[in-house]
């Protein structure tokens, strides 16, 4: 029997078809993975199943009968629960308040019965063998714990279908393994589980069957045991793909240290130290990877070294000069290229044209701007050479950046920063949320740049990216460096331990 079936389910946004006649059949008490590239339409599909979006056409059947889901409440009433990629929790409320949000237990007179609520949540945590303290505030707990809160929130509502959207994106490898065990356990308890992901290793590990979506259409549906990672990747992208880039790691030069950060420290807006004595060096011809679970200080570190945030203590030396706390325009003048964390918040201006974005950050250069007037001829030349050299697919040369896909927008930044010929490149999340083709291209660019004898600082939450590109990796945990590893001589699990704050010394004990 099928738990969920969709028949010809279609969702259009204006002229864009996000989901095109999708026929799904999700078997009961199994784990089904839905895979596809970023932008393939996986999340749209799930949002329709959860009542957040209304289908343009087609129908949804749950346990064989047709339903109309107008809101998440309808979905929950039909036994469907969803754990979103970006958690829908209220940070200032406690774990138990979040779990019971919308289902509060009240005494006569309308006041909330805190004691009873805490007791119920403790019972729930105990029943499913989760590790959580119901009284902790959500803002104080780890990302992994927050995800457990989200799952419990759904389980409390007695759902028997659980949809998880990219659940391992923010977890350490250990936490991800733990989640996989939990999901298998829930399956044993009779739940039907749908996991949306693009991580194929996890698909193979966790699922009973798998559905591949490409450009809004189902392109494959099979039992997991009958397929392989390579085949799935090929289906997702539509051609053969290299799962990892080729990195010869030849020592290009031993040009010595070009960049040196010493004891960088800063505080967050609550006055708490979120970065503590972070020191590292980067040599010419080397990619230094900075790994860690999101929220452990990488974001602050990148902001400091790219001039967007002030360090309260510490020093940064670049090419023999002190560049601590200087602003981004000065950093670029000194020969540091910056690919910022959020491409549309800090890297590009969505509403401005490609031409303007092609010189953004370099607009004070004499060739670009003289006497306060921008030289559009030079700007156009730069735009065209960047587009050609980096193979950027652009519809309208005079159009805005907002019209580009994520991958092409990101390539504009990479092209702009590399064309300026920097001696060091800070690349933060250079391939987040973009298509595999663009990822491959950006990875190749980074390696080529390194092979020319330049230095790169690579910050990424995608561990495989860090492992395949970097020459050395440092790991951040709670704002401190927990260790440095050689990616050729270590494995994911070892880095995972460091990401969880467990250092060699502790592990040895």
């Amino acid at each position: 029997m099928y738990m969920i079936q969709t028949v010809g389910l279609t969702k259009r946004f204006g002229s864009f078809t996000a989901n095109d006649h999708i026929d799904l059949a999700i078997p009961e008490k199994e784990i089904t993975c839905i895979v596809g590239e970023n932008g393939a339409g996986k999340t749209t599909l799930m949002n329709m199943l959860y009542g957040l979006l209304e289908p343009t056409e087609g129908e949804i059947r749950i346990r064989g009968s047709q339903v109309k889901l107008r809101s998440p409440i309808d979905a929950i009433a039909n036994g469907i629960g969803m754990v979103h990629q970006h958690f829908k929790l209220v940070p200032s409320l406690s774990v138990y308040e979040n779990i019971l949000l919308g289902a509060e237990i009240t005494k006569k007179g309308g006041l909330i019965d805190r004691k009873e609520e805490i007791r119920k949540v403790e019972e729930l945590i105990h029943n499913y063998h989760f590790e959580l303290n119901p009284l902790d505030k959500v803002e104080d707990i780890s990302v992994g714990s927050r995800q457990r809160v989200e799952i419990l929130k759904m389980l409390y509502r007695n759902v028997d279908i659980l949809i998880l959207d990219e659940p391992t994106a923010v977890l350490t490898p250990q936490e991800a393994n733990d989640l996989i065990d939990r999901l298998k356990d829930l399956k044993e308890k009779g739940k039907t589980i749908i996991v949306i992901t693009h991580k194929l290793r996890e698909v193979m590990e966790v699922s009973d069957s798998v559905v591949v979506i490409k450009r809004g259409k189902v392109v494959g549906s099979m039992r997991t045991k009958d397929t392989s990672e390579q085949e799935l990747a090929q289906m997702m992208v539509g051609r053969d793909v290299m799962l990892t880039v080729e990195n010869d790691r030849r020592k290009v030069s031993d040009g010595g240290v070009i960049y040196q950060a010493e004891n960088l420290t800063t505080i967050n807006s609550f006055g708490k130290e979120c970065l503590k004595n972070v020191s590292f060096q980067v040599a010419r011809g080397e990619i230094l990877g900075i790994a860690g679970v999101e929220g452990n200080g990488q974001s602050e570190l990148v902001k400091i070294i790219s001039g967007l945030m002030e360090a309260t203590a510490g020093r940064v030396m670049f090419d023999g000069e002190d560049v601590t706390n200087i602003w981004p325009d000065k950093l670029r003048q000194k020969g540091i290229g910056i690919i910022p964390e959020d491409r549309f918040a800090q890297g590009l201006c969505r509403t401005m044209t490609l031409t303007e974005n092609a010189v953004a950050g370099y607009h004070t250069q004499k060739e670009v701007c003289r006497g306060g007037l921008m030289n559009t001829k030079v700007m156009r030349q730069r735009r065209d050479s960047q587009i050609e050299r980096f193979d950027i697919r652009v519809g309208d040369l005079e159009g805005t950046v907002g019209a580009l896909s994520g991958g092409n927008a990101q390539k504009i930044i990479v092209a702009r920063e590399l064309s300026a010929g920097p001696k060091l490149l800070i690349a933060c999340q250079p391939t987040r949320g973009i298509d595999i083709g663009s990822i491959e291209s950006i990875h190749r660019q980074l390696l080529e740049y390194r092979n020319q004898g330049n230095a790169v600082i690579l910050i990424s939450s995608e561990l495989p990216e860090i492992m395949s590109l970097s020459d050395r990796v440092i790991v951040l945990y709670k704002g401190e460096v927990t260790g440095e590893v050689d990616p050729t001589k270590t494995d994911m699990m070892q880095i995972g331990l460091l990401m969880a704050g467990i250092t060699d010394k502790e592990a040895a004990q």
Partner: protein, 303 residues
């Protein structure tokens, strides 16, 4: 001693309308709606309470009309600011200008620069609380205020209860803090924003009535004198927490009371004392903002 008692009595007296506006307004703050229309709503409460009483001589009726008309402003604000997703500053500004204009129009119709209720005995409205009124020093400070003044102080605790111990309060805070979380559990976000704004209107209506009818029995078009904005400042300084925000309201009440009582001794410079509450507002807001942002090390646009 007498001056001290007088200052403290006036402090209670001047705090009450600000507290009422604060307690109403903080719901909108918690629901993440910036309601600068508190000022205009308060003026409307003052106008219609006095006007209705002028014609009917009936307190209950005055209260009813004052509430209903102010709620209407609340609905207008909510409709344009929430449903139509307009800019709440502009909508709020419009309401502030509109209520002044309505008041001006009515005053012109009545051919007077103010509405004074004839034979209105302000002292008759003052409630002397048995036992408390006989306590030395405290008695003359705490006793002898109009009903709404007592109500305002009681409401501080009721508002805390509503905000932190009921479903409604939790939902308002969730809507303000994380709209996504609210939508994910199927809360009707707009509904809670409406409710928060309308509660603000109720608070402002009571504040206006307390200010004009209860205390003075008269209305003039400039009588609110930025108390709505002072209430907003108190809400921001107290981060929307009922007790803290009310304490700021009392601080502003105290400054007003000091200005009134001390200006008696100032001779020709007495007018300068009227600046005191407003200067205090600037200083307190500046200090609150300094404390809030002193640890922000991120440059530029991000907070």
């Amino acid at each position: 001693m007498q001056l001290m008692i007088s200052i403290l009595y006036d402090c209670v007296y001047h705090s009450a309308p600000i507290i009422l506006a604060v307690l109403g307004g903080l719901f909108a703050y918690k629901a993440n709606v910036l309601n600068i229309a508190l000022e205009g709503m308060m003026l409307n409460g003052a106008l219609f309470s006095v006007l209705t009483y002028y014609f009917t001589r009936n307190f209950a009726f005055a209260l009813l009309v004052c509430l209903l008309t102010t709620l209407l402003y609340g609905l207008i604000f909510a409709f344009f600011g929430v449903t139509m997703k307009g800019n709440v500053i502009i909508v709020g500004l419009a309401i502030n200008m509109m209520s002044t204009a309505v008041a001006g129009f009515i005053l012109v119709m009545m051919k007077s620069s103010n509405i004074i209720i004839p034979e209105f005995d302000v002292n008759a409205l003052k409630l002397n609380i048995p036992i408390i009124k006989d306590i030395p020093i405290l008695g003359p400070i705490l006793s002898g205020h109009p009903v709404l003044t007592y109500v305002s102080f009681l409401l501080i605790f009721l508002t805390s209860l509503l905000m932190y111990r009921t479903r409604f309060g939790v939902y308002v805070r969730v809507v303000g803090e994380s709209e996504d979380a609210a939508k994910a559990i199927g809360l009707r976000v707009d509904l809670y924003k409406y409710a928060a704004i309308l509660l603000g209107a109720v608070g402002c209506a009571l504040a206006g009535m307390n200010l004009a009818l209860d205390r003075l029995g008269l209305f003039t078009n400039s009588m609110v004198a930025a108390r709505g904005f002072i209430a907003l400042a108190a809400i921001y300084c107290g981060r929307g927490k009922p007790v803290q925000s009310s304490l700021y309201a009392i601080l502003f009440g105290l400054s007003r009371s000091l200005a009134v009582n001390l200006s008696v001794y100032a001779g020709e410079a007495s007018g300068l004392f009227d600046c005191f509450p407003y200067l205090l507002m600037i200083v307190v807001l500046g200090a609150a903002s300094y404390v809030k942002y002193k640890n922000v090390k991120v440059r530029g646009f991000q907070v």
